[in-house]
Amino acid sequence: MMKKFCSKFEFRWEYFLILFILLEVLVFGMMNSKFLMPRVLFGSFNDFISICIIAVFMCFVFITGGIDLQAGSIVGLTSIIIGVLWKSFEVNIIVACLIALVVACLCGALSGFFIAYTDVQPMVITLGGSFLYSGLAIAVSNMSNTAAYLGISGFPEYFTSFTKLRFFGVLPAQVLIFIALTAVAYVILHRTKYGRMVFLCGINRRAAEFSGINTKRIILSTYVFSGMAAAFAGIIMTSYLGSSKSDFGSDLTMPIITAVVLGGTSILGGKGTVVGSALAAVVIGIMRFGLSMNGVSNQYLDIPVGIMLVVVVAASTFSQNEKISAFFQRHLRLKQKAASK
C-alpha cells in the first residue's frame, strides 16, 4: 500500500521547499522564541521582499535559457527616476511611478532586443546593461538640483505609508503585494498560451521557431517582464525607505539568481516554476533572518545560503546521473528483497 502511495505521489521540488520553510521556522523558533511571533516573522519579509518579487519574474528569463544581471541596477534607476521626477520636475508621485515603470520596461526591452535579435550571450549583454543602468542612475541623480549625496526624501504620506500597512496587525502590505504578483506570474506562465510558448522557447529554440512561434518576440518579452519586476521592487523599496537613491538594489543580483536556481529552475532553460522561485526566495530570506536572530553575525549569513545552493544543485544533478541513481536503485531493491523475505 505504501509502495502504491509512493509511486502515485509525484515528488515535486516545491513540496521540499515548503517542508524546508516549516523546518526552518521550527528550528529557529526553538532556538529563539521571539522568532515565532507573527509580527516579527512577517515583519522580516520587508527586508527581502525585493528579492522575492524580482525572482518570481526572473524565472521567465531563466526558462528561456537566458540570465539577467541588470535587475539590481534597474531597481536603483527606478528609484532615482521617481525621486528626481517628483522633486525637481514636480510630477505627481503616481505618475512618476508609472513613468519609472515604463522606463524600466524599456531598459529590459533594450537588452532583450539585443539578445533575441542578434543572438548575443545574455550574460554579457545584461552585464553591460547593469553597468549602463547604474551609470544612468547616477547621471539622472545629477539632473536633480539636490546634490546626489543628500538623497531625495520627504515623499507624500500616502506614498510612504502603503508599504508600512499591516493587515490584522501582523501581515505587512508588502507580503500581500508579493502574493498577488506571484499569482499573476503563475497565471501568466502556467495557464496561458504565452507561458507554454516561453517554455518551448527554452526547451528547444529551433524547434519552437520552426513550429511557428515568434521566439524573438517571446524572449524580448521575458526581459521586459524582468525589468518590470525590478521597477516594482524599486517602487516598493523607495516607498518603504522613504528615500530615493541611485544605488538601491546594487547588491541584489546574486541573491535573486540564487533564489531562482534554488527554486528548481534550470540555468540551461526549459524547466522551472513560479511557485518554486517564490518559495526559494522565502526560504533564503527566512534562513538569513533566523540565523541573524540567533546571533550569527551579519558577515557569516551568506555562508549557509552558499552551501545550500551548492548542495541543492549538486544533488539535483547527481540524482539525474545514471550511475548514481542505478546505485541507489540496486541498494533499495536489495533492501526490499530482504524485507519481503
Binding site: 543572438d119 548575443v120 554579457v124 549583454i125 553591460g128
Partner: protein
C-alpha cells in the same frame, strides 16, 4: 612587472595552442561529447581549468596586496564581473571553444584603462559605469553581428560550392 605579465601571457598562449594537453581545453569547450569519443579526459580538463582559475585569482591577490598594501575582506568584490566582461571583450565565447588568452589580456587592458582614459578625456568620474556598459554592449553586439555575417557567408559559400559541383558534373556530360 609588465614584462613578467607579457611573458606569462605568451607562455600560456603557447601552452594552450601548441601542446597536446593545452589543446584539450579548446576541444572540451567546443564539443564535449566529441572529445570523450576521442579519448580526451573531459572531466579532468574541466577540473583543471577551475583550479588554474583559482590559482590565478590567488596570484592576483598577491599582486594586489603588494601594490596596495592594505586589504579588507571585501577587497575583490565585483572583480568577477569585470573579469567576465574582459574575457568577452577579448573575444572569448561564453558557450565555449572560441578565444585565446591574448584576446583576454587585451580585454582586461581595456576594462582596466577605461576609468583612466575617462580622466584624461575630462569626463566626470560619474560616467565611468555608463561608458563601461555602453562599450561592453557595443563590442559584444558588434562581434555577434560580425559572427553572424561570417557564418551566413560561410554557409552561402558551401551551398554555392555544392551547386557548382552539380552543375559542373551535368556539363561534363553525365546524366543526372
Amino acid at each position: 612587472m609588465y614584462i613578467g605579465t607579457i611573458l606569462v601571457m605568451l607562455a600560456v598562449y603557447l601552452f594552450v595552442t601548441k601542446t597536446k594537453h593545452g589543446k584539450y581545453f579548446h576541444t572540451v569547450g567546443d564539443n564535449a561529447e566529441g572529445a570523450t569519443h576521442l579519448g580526451i579526459p573531459v572531466n579532468k580538463t574541466r577540473l583543471i581549468s577551475f583550479v588554474i582559475c583559482a590559482v590565478c585569482a590567488s596570484l592576483a591577490a598577491v599582486v594586489f596586496v603588494s601594490r596596495i598594501g592594505f586589504v579588507t575582506p571585501t577587497s575583490g568584490n565585483g572583480y568577477e564581473m569585470k573579469a567576465i566582461a574582459a574575457c568577452v571583450i577579448g573575444g572569448i565565447s561564453l558557450s565555449g571553444g572560441i578565444g585565446n588568452v591574448i584576446g583576454a589580456t587585451f580585454g582586461a587592458l581595456i576594462m582596466a584603462s577605461i576609468s583612466r582614459i575617462l580622466v584624461f578625456l575630462g569626463f566626470s568620474s560619474n560616467y565611468d559605469n555608463t561608458i563601461t556598459g555602453i562599450l561592453l554592449i557595443t563590442i559584444v553586439v558588434f562581434d555577434a553581428i560580425m559572427q553572424h555575417r561570417n557564418a551566413e557567408r560561410a554557409r552561402r559559400e558551401r551551398l554555392a560550392a555544392r551547386t557548382e559541383e552539380v552543375v559542373e558534373s551535368k556539363m561534363a556530360g553525365g546524366n543526372i
